[in-house]
């Protein structure tokens, strides 16, 4: 009898120990899952690979920017006795920043996107977003430079930008690498393919060009409500 009780008791303890072990593993899994980097653990392998490629490319750009800024700072530090060098440097920076921000016009290589037929503002904004993602340095829609605050609005046939009706057909011009811009826009499953599903009657063509003029914005880019932080 004692032996029977002993065997039964051992099985009971084993069962409880097993359940307790599984409980422990699950509880730890839950806690670790919650303390992970927010969202990253939810990405698929494909998304993670895409994210890493994006981060790598961006970090390379940032390193280049840092090298430029270090050079600029060094020049400023050593050129106090040489006013002309400082002026040249400042003028060059000013021209670059103004061109980038949209305050001045820009001429360069890029693509021209011709659009004809009914298309919604959501699709045009998708195109602009994709162009920015592909590294476009300056974009215009129907002659209007795209800067922060410029939004293409309206339903198909009633598009407007900066209070001006957008014609049909109309063009979007973007300065950047023609190959990258063309490849990004026209890749299988890319933005133009997706727009084609939503707006099947819209015709979109992309032409790489060696010289495009993009005008400056007509907006005042200086904020009136915001002030530089101290």
């Amino acid at each position: 009898m004692n032996r029977l009780f002993a065997v039964g008791s051992r099985r009971q303890y084993l069962a409880i120990a097993l359940v307790a072990a599984i409980l422990g593993i699950l509880a730890v899994g839950q806690l670790r899952g919650q303390s992970n980097v927010p969202g990253l653990s939810n990405l698929s392998t494909q998304d993670l690979t895409l994210l890493i490629a994006n981060l790598n490319a961006r970090n390379d750009e940032l390193r280049t920017e840092i090298a430029d800024l270090q050079q600029q700072a060094a020049t400023l530090e050593t050129s106090t006795s040489n006013g002309q060098t400082t002026v040249d440097q400042l003028q060059s920076d000013l021209a670059r920043i103004r061109a980038w921000s949209g305050a001045t016009g820009l001429t360069g290589t890029g693509v021209e996107i011709g659009i004809q037929g009914p298309i919604g503002s959501d699709a045009v904004e998708d195109l602009l977003n994709e162009l920015a993602n592909a590294g476009a340095e300056a974009i215009e829609v129907d002659g209007v430079r795209v800067v922060p605050g410029v939004v293409v609005a309206g339903d198909p046939g009633q598009l407007s930008v900066e209070n001006t009706a957008v014609g049909d057909p109309f063009v979007i011009r973007a300065i950047g690498s023609p190959e990258i811009l063309l490849g990004t826009l026209t890749r299988a499953g890319g933005v133009i393919s997706q727009i084609g599903v939503t707006y099947p009657d819209a015709q979109i063509s992309v032409t790489p060009l060696t010289s495009i003029d993009v005008p400056p914005t007509t907006r005042n880019l200086i904020p009136s409500h915001g002030q530089p932080s101290l």
Partner: protein, 259 residues
């Protein structure tokens, strides 16, 4: 009744313990499965290094951006020391300061609002209840149309080169990985939220994505909102600035575009 009590008393205590443990086990398994529903969990060994790499790269990016901001501040202070003699040089420094403000390279403070956009708390089997890049973009676009002067999403300044993209169930802004919830800080007219609510497109977005799907959207109207400077690259490699270009001054009403 007495029989039932007697039978209950006859159940060995280890069986009761085991039953309770199994109940907890079932609850934990159900919780795990529910958590894996909308944002699928992958726990294979091959993903672990990828996650670590992404975390390291994101940390590097944060450090690089901080370095850029430090360098820009250093350059700004060097420039401030510079103008002493020539008035033309003084003007050049002033123009450069204004150009940096116009480009979003300077942090701003001003009246506005802070929006918080988050996933639906009642996520179903589909991903419809997750905040997408399109949701963030629609809100940003509507804020521009309502008169916003400066916008940042989770600390990423929206500039002329900003793209807002989906990556899995999260969002990339300026190639920085942002996890929900998304905080959108905006500087603009003090009544910017009122202006936003008057937009038909914003109302359509609110009805569909917030009321129907259940995305969380909250707003705080503030007298002082901080929007950080853009910490990315300002490069013009494929274009040449117009030589004769001069800065422009005319300003259309910020809220005049037709939503």
């Amino acid at each position: 009744m007495t029989g039932l009590v007697a039978r209950a008393r006859a159940i060995p205590s280890w069986q009761i313990t085991l039953s309770i443990a199994l109940l907890v086990l079932g609850f934990l398994i159900a919780a795990q499965l529910a958590a894996e529903g909308p944002r699928v969990q992958y726990t294979t060994q091959e993903r672990s290094p990828l996650v670590e790499t992404a975390v390291q790269l994101q940390a590097q990016q944060d450090a690089l951006k901080a370095q850029i901001l430090d360098l820009r501040n250093r350059i700004q202070s060097l420039e401030a020391q510079g103008p002493g003699a020539a008035a033309s040089l003084k003007q050049l420094y002033a123009d450069l300061g204004q150009a940096k403000i116009a480009a979003g390279l300077t942090a701003l403070t001003g009246p506005g609002a802070v929006f918080r956009l988050e996933d639906s708390s009642t996520l179903g089997a589909a991903d419809e209840g997750l905040v997408t890049a399109n949701d963030v973009r629609v809100l940003v676009e509507q804020l521009w149309l309502a008169g916003a002067e400066a916008i940042a999403v989770n600390g990423e300044r929206v500039t002329v080169s900003t793209a807002i993209l989906d990556i899995g169930g999260s969002v990339l802004v300026n190639s920085a990985y942002l996890a929900p919830p998304y905080t959108i800080a905006v500087i603009g007219p003090p009544d910017i939220y009122e202006r936003l609510q008057q937009s038909a497109s914003f109302r359509a977005f609110f009805l569909d994505r917030v009321q129907r799907v259940g995305l969380g959207l909250s707003v705080a109207e503030l007298d002082s909102v901080d929007v950080p400077a853009f910490a990315g690259t300002v490069s013009v490699r494929f274009g040449t600035p117009d030589a004769s270009a001069t800065p422009i001054a005319s300003s259309p009403p910020a809220s005049s575009a037709t939503p």
